[in-house]
C-alpha cells in the first residue's frame, strides 16, 4: 500500500482514547460468565487445589502464546479478522470468515443468557423474592404441585422463567416476557456499540470494573456466613490422585482456551485499533494473568456461599427430622436440638424402633450437600438464588449478583459483536450511503430476530446445543489454523520483524518455542481428544418433564436424528469456510497461471515500439 492511502486509512480507522480503555476492553472480553460459573465447578470436581497445576500449565503453554499471537497480528496488520488472515495468505482467508461466523453464532446465545440475567434482575426488587416460595394454586387450597415436588427455585427457573417444554421436539410458543428481556439486552448492547469503540471504551470503565467491586463485597459478606469455611476447605483441599486422569488435563486446556475468548476475532479487532508502536507482549501477559487471577478470585465467594448453602440445607434437614420426632413422640418443644439429636435418636430407637422407622427420617450428611455441584446456568439461577434467599437482606445481594453477571456478560458481548462488525466494515461490505450506526443497528436487529428461537418453550435445549457444539470444536480448529497460518504461511522471521517494529525487541525463546512447537501440538492433541470423547458418548440431554415418573429428577433423552444433524452442521459449517476459501483461491490461482492473461500487465506500453535506431545504439 502506498503511503498516501495508508495515511488516509489510518485517519479513518478509529482509535482508543487511551491504553486503559484498550486493556479494560480486552480484560472484559476475556473475563466472562465462564470465570464465575465454570472455573469454580471444575476446581471442585477435579480435586480443588490440585486442578490449578494443569490449569496454570495450560495457561503458560497454550493460553498466553495464542493470546500474544492474536494481539500482535491484529496490531501489526491493522484489520479485522478477515482482512488479517487475507493479508497473511489469501489461502487462509477462510479462517477470518469462520471467526466472524462463529462470533455471530456465539453472540446469539450469549445474549440470551444476558436476557435471563435481566429477567432475574427485574424480579430482584420484589419482596419477598419470587423464587423463595412456591406460588399458591388457583383455588388457594395449596401450593402448585410441580413446585411442591421440586423446589421453589427450580420451579421458578424452569416454569416461570423458561416455561420449558418436556423435550426439544415440542417447541412451544414464544414466551413474551423473554422476548421483552431479549429486546432490552440487545438494546443495551446496541447503545454501547453505537459509535464503535468510542462508546465501548467509555462503557468498559463500568462493565469491566464493576464485577471486581461486587466480588469483593461478596467475599466480605460470604466469609462471615456460617458454613463458609466448610465450603472453602472443600474447594481448595487438593486431591493429587486426580491428576492422573487425562480428562482433567483436557478440561484444563479447554477451560483456558474458552476463558480467554481466543479465535473469535474480537481480540484481533480490538488490537487493530491500537497505535502501531505498542507493547503488545506486556498486554498479552497482563490480560492472560488477570483472567486467571479473576477466576481464582471469583471462586472464593462462590464457594463460601455454596458452603453456606450446604450448611443451611443440612440444618433444615436435621430440623425436619427433629420436628418429625418431636411430633410423633409428643416430646416437649425444643427439647431435641441439633446438638443432642443423635442421643435422642439412639434413645428413641432403643425404646420404640418401629415407630422411628415408620417416620422415614432423612439421612442428613453435610458432605452430600457439599457434593451437589453445579455449573453454568444451574449455578447462577438455581443454586446461587437459593443461597441468596437465606441471606439477610436478600434483595440487595440478588441485585448485586445479577448486575455483576450482566456486566461480565456485556463486556464479553462487546468482543463478540466486534468480531462480526469489524471484518464487515473492513471489507467495505457496507453500502456507502449507510452510516455505521444504522449498520450496527441492523446487525443487532437481525441477531435479535434469529435469537428468538431461544425464547421458545424449547429454547433452553437449543441454547445447550449451541453452547456445546458451536462454542467448542470450531474454536479449537480455528485456533489451530491461526497458529499454523502465522508460523508456516506468514513466517516466523517476518512475524518477529513485525514484533520488533512494534515492541522494540524480538520475541524471546519461550515465545518462539511455544509458537512453533508446543502450542500447535497441544492444540492438536486437545482437539483430537475432545472430539474423541464427544464421539464416544451418544448425545443425550437432560429434560424437565413434570409428567416424568421420577420427577423431579430430569429424564435424560437422546437427541433425535434431525436435531443431531443440526448439531453436526453447527460444528462443521463455520469451519467449512476454511477449506472452501482455500480451494477456491487455489483454483483461481491455477486458472490464472494457465490462461496467462488474467490481469493485464500494467507496465506494458504498446505505444512504445522498439525501432532500428535504438537497436543500433544498443549494439554499440
Amino acid at each position: 500500500m502506498d503511503t498516501a492511502s495508508e495515511a488516509s486509512s489510518a485517519q479513518d480507522r478509529p482509535k482508543w482514547d487511551n491504553k486503559v480503555q484498550y486493556l479494560l476492553t480486552c480484560i472484559g472480553f476475556a473475563v466472562g460468565l465462564g470465570n464465575v460459573w465454570r472455573f469454580p465447578y471444575l476446581c471442585q470436581i477435579y480435586g480443588g487445589g490440585a486442578f490449578l497445576i494443569p490449569y496454570l500449565i495450560a495457561l503458560v503453554f497454550e493460553g498466553l502464546p495464542l493470546l500474544y499471537l492474536e494481539l500482535a497480528i491484529g496490531q501489526s496488520l491493522r484489520k479485522g479478522s478477515i482482512g488479517v488472515w487475507h493479508s497473511i495468505s489469501p489461502l487462509l482467508g477462510g479462517v477470518g470468515v469462520a471467526s466472524m461466523f462463529l462470533s455471530f453464532l456465539v453472540g446469539l446465545f450469549y445474549n440470551m443468557i444476558l436476557a435471563w440475567v435481566l429477567w432475574y434482575f427485574f424480579h430482584s426488587f420484589e419482596e419477598p423474592l419470587p423464587w423463595s416460595r412456591c406460588p399458591v394454586n388457583d383455588n388457594n387450597t395449596g401450593y402448585v404441585e410441580e413446585c411442591v415436588l421440586s423446589t421453589p427455585v427450580n420451579y421458578y427457573w424452569y416454569r416461570q422463567t423458561l416455561n420449558i417444554s418436556p423435550d426439544i421436539e415440542q417447541s412451544g410458543s414464544l414466551q413474551w416476557w423473554l422476548v421483552l428481556c431479549l429486546a432490552s439486552a440487545w438494546s443495551i448492547v446496541y447503545i454501547c456499540f453505537i459509535r464503535g469503540i468510542e462508546t465501548i471504551g467509555k462503557a468498559v470503565y463500568v462493565t469491566a470494573t464493576f464485577p471486581y467491586l461486587v466480588l469483593t463485597i461478596f467475599i466480605v459478606r460470604a466469609l462471615t456466613l456460617p458454613g463458609a469455611t466448610d465450603g472453602l476447605r472443600y474447594l481448595f483441599t487438593p486431591d493429587w490422585t486426580l491428576l492422573m486422569d487425562p480428562q482433567v488435563w483436557l478440561d484444563a486446556a479447554t477451560q483456558i482456551f474458552f476463558s480467554l475468548s481466543l479465535a473469535f476475532g474480537g481480540l484481533i479487532a480490538f488490537s487493530s485499533y491500537n497505535p502501531k508502536k505498542n507493547n503488545c507482549e506486556r498486554d498479552a501477559v497482563l490480560v492472560g494473568c488477570i483472567n486467571s487471577a479473576t477466576s481464582l478470585y471469583a471462586s472464593i465467594p462462590i464457594f463460601a456461599i455454596l458452603g453456606f448453602k450446604a450448611t443451611s440445607n443440612f440444618n433444615s434437614c436435621v430440623d425436619g427430622n427433629i420436628l418429625d420426632l418431636t411430633n410423633a413422640f409428643d416430646i416437649a418443644d425444643k427439647n431435641i436440638t441439633s446438638e443432642n439429636y443423635q442421643n435422642w435418636l439412639t434413645y428413641l430407637n432403643s425404646s420404640d424402633p418401629d415407630k422411628v422407622s415408620s417416620l422415614n427420617l432423612k439421612h442428613c450428611d453435610l458432605q452430600n450437600f457439599l457434593d451437589q455441584s453445579a455449573s453454568g446456568t444451574g449455578l447462577a439461577f438455581i443454586v446461587f438464588t437459593e443461597a441468596v434467599t437465606e441471606m439477610p437482606g436478600s434483595q440487595v445481594w440478588a441485585v448485586l449478583f445479577f448486575v455483576m453477571l450482566f456486566s461480565l456478560g456485556l463486556s464479553s458481548m462487546f468482543g463478540n459483536l466486534e468480531g462480526v462488525l469489524t471484518p464487515l466494515l473492513d471489507l467495505h461490505m457496507v453500502p456507502k450511503w449507510m452510516p455505521k450506526e444504522l449498520f450496527t443497528g441492523l446487525i443487532c436487529v437481525l441477531s435479535f430476530l434469529v435469537a428468538l428461537i431461544f425464547t421458545l418453550g424449547s429454547g433452553n435445549y437449543w441454547l445447550e446445543i449451541f453452547n456445546s457444539y458451536v462454542g467448542s470444536v470450531p474454536l479449537l480448529v480455528i485456533a489451530f489454523f491461526e497458529i499454523i497460518g502465522v508460523v508456516c504461511f506468514y513466517g516466523m522471521k517476518q512475524f518477529s520483524d513485525d514484533i520488533e517494529h512494534m515492541t522494540g525487541r524480538r520475541p524471546n525463546l519461550y515465545w518462539r518455542v511455544c509458537w512453533m512447537g508446543i502450542s500447535p501440538l497441544m492444540l492438536l492433541v486437545v482437539l483430537v481428544a475432545y472430539v474423541a470423547v464427544q464421539v464416544q458418548k451418544h448425545p443425550t440431554y437432560p429434560t424437565w418433564d413434570p409428567k416424568y415418573e421420577n420427577f423431579p429428577e430430569s429424564e435424560v433423552k437422546p437427541y433425535s436424528d434431525w436435531v443431531f444433524a443440526i448439531c453436526v452442521l453447527l460444528s462443521s459449517v463455520p469451519v467449512l469456510s476454511i477449506p472452501i476459501v482455500a480451494v477456491y483461491r487455489l483454483i483461481r490461482r491455477q486458472t490464472r497461471s494457465q490462461t496467462g492473461t488474467g490481469y493485464p500487465n500494467p507496465y506494458s506500453n504498446r505505444a512504445f515500439a522498439p525501432d532500428a535506431q535504438t537497436e543500433s545504439f544498443k549494439a554499440l
Binding site: 427485574f122 399458591v136 395449596g142 429486546a183 432490552s184 453505537i194 411430633n327 416430646i331 418443644d333
Partner: protein
C-alpha cells in the same frame, strides 16, 4: 349412698373424658410455643388452657351466631408435654351430644387468625391436625413490579440511543456545513477548484524568496 354421690359428682367429668377420648369428632391441637417465641415463651398451664377453651367457644359463637356456647362446651383431653391435646365441642343444648367435625372445622377456619393472635402464634406453630391453614391470597398488582423496572431500564436506553444518534447526526451536519461554507466563501472572487494553492489566500500569492528576479548573473 356415698358411692352414689361420688358417682354423681364424678360422672360428668368421666362422661366428658369419654366423650373426648373416644370421639371421632375431635381435633388434635399442637402448639410450638418455644419455636415461635424463643426466650419470650410462656409456660403452658391451666390458665392458658382456659384461654384456649374460651377462644374456641368464641369461634363457635362467631360461626353459629348462637350466644349459648360456653367454656364448659369445650372438652379437652390427652395432654402431652409437647404441648398437644385433643378437644371436642359439645352442643350447648345437650352436653352429651357432640358438634360434628365439619362444623367445628369451619368455625376454626373462620377465626383462625383471632385464635393465633390470642396466643401470639402463627399457622405454623399452632396446628390443628386435619385443618389445613387457608393460604394467604397472593398479592395481585395492577402492573407487576418487574414491568416497572423493565420500563425504566428500556426507557433510559431508548433515550440514550436517541440522544447519541441525534448528536451524531448534528455533528455530521455541522461538518458538512463547514465544508459547504468554506467553498461558498471563495465563490465570490474567483472560481476556485479547491486545490491547496487556493487556500493560501490572496491573489498575489506568496513571495518565494528562493526565486530572485535579479538577473545579474543569468545573462549569458
Amino acid at each position: 349412698m356415698l358411692t352414689a354421690v361420688l358417682l354423681l359428682i364424678l360422672l360428668p367429668p368421666m362422661v366428658a373424658q369419654d366423650l373426648c377420648k373416644d370421639s371421632t369428632d375431635g381435633f388434635k391441637v399442637r402448639l410450638s410455643i418455644k419455636t415461635a417465641l424463643g426466650d419470650n415463651a410462656y409456660d403452658w398451664n391451666e390458665s392458658e388452657m382456659f384461654l384456649f377453651q374460651s377462644t374456641l367457644a368464641f369461634a363457635m359463637r362467631r360461626h353459629t351466631e348462637q350466644d349459648t356456647y360456653n367454656i364448659a362446651n369445650i372438652l379437652v383431653c390427652n395432654n402431652t408435654p409437647r404441648v398437644s391435646f385433643v378437644f371436642v365441642v359439645t352442643s350447648p343444648d345437650d352436653p352429651t351430644k357432640l358438634i360434628p367435625k365439619e362444623q367445628v372445622e369451619e368455625a376454626v377456619r373462620k377465626s383462625k387468625h383471632r385464635i393465633n393472635s390470642a396466643f401470639l402464634l402463627s399457622d405454623m406453630t399452632l396446628e390443628f391436625i386435619g385443618i389445613p391453614p387457608t393460604l394467604a391470597t397472593p398479592i395481585t398488582y395492577d402492573t407487576p413490579p418487574w414491568l416497572i423496572v423493565f420500563g425504566v431500564v428500556i426507557g433510559a436506553v431508548a433515550v440514550g440511543i436517541l440522544a447519541l444518534l441525534m448528536s451524531t447526526v448534528s455533528k455530521r451536519r455541522r461538518a458538512k456545513n463547514k465544508d459547504a461554507g468554506f467553498a461558498e466563501e471563495d465563490d465570490g472572487r474567483v472560481k476556485e477548484n479547491g486545490t491547496a494553492l487556493s487556500s493560501l489566500g490572496g491573489k498575489d500569492g506568496v513571495y518565494n524568496q528562493a526565486f530572485s528576479n535579479d538577473d545579474r548573473f543569468t545573462q549569458l
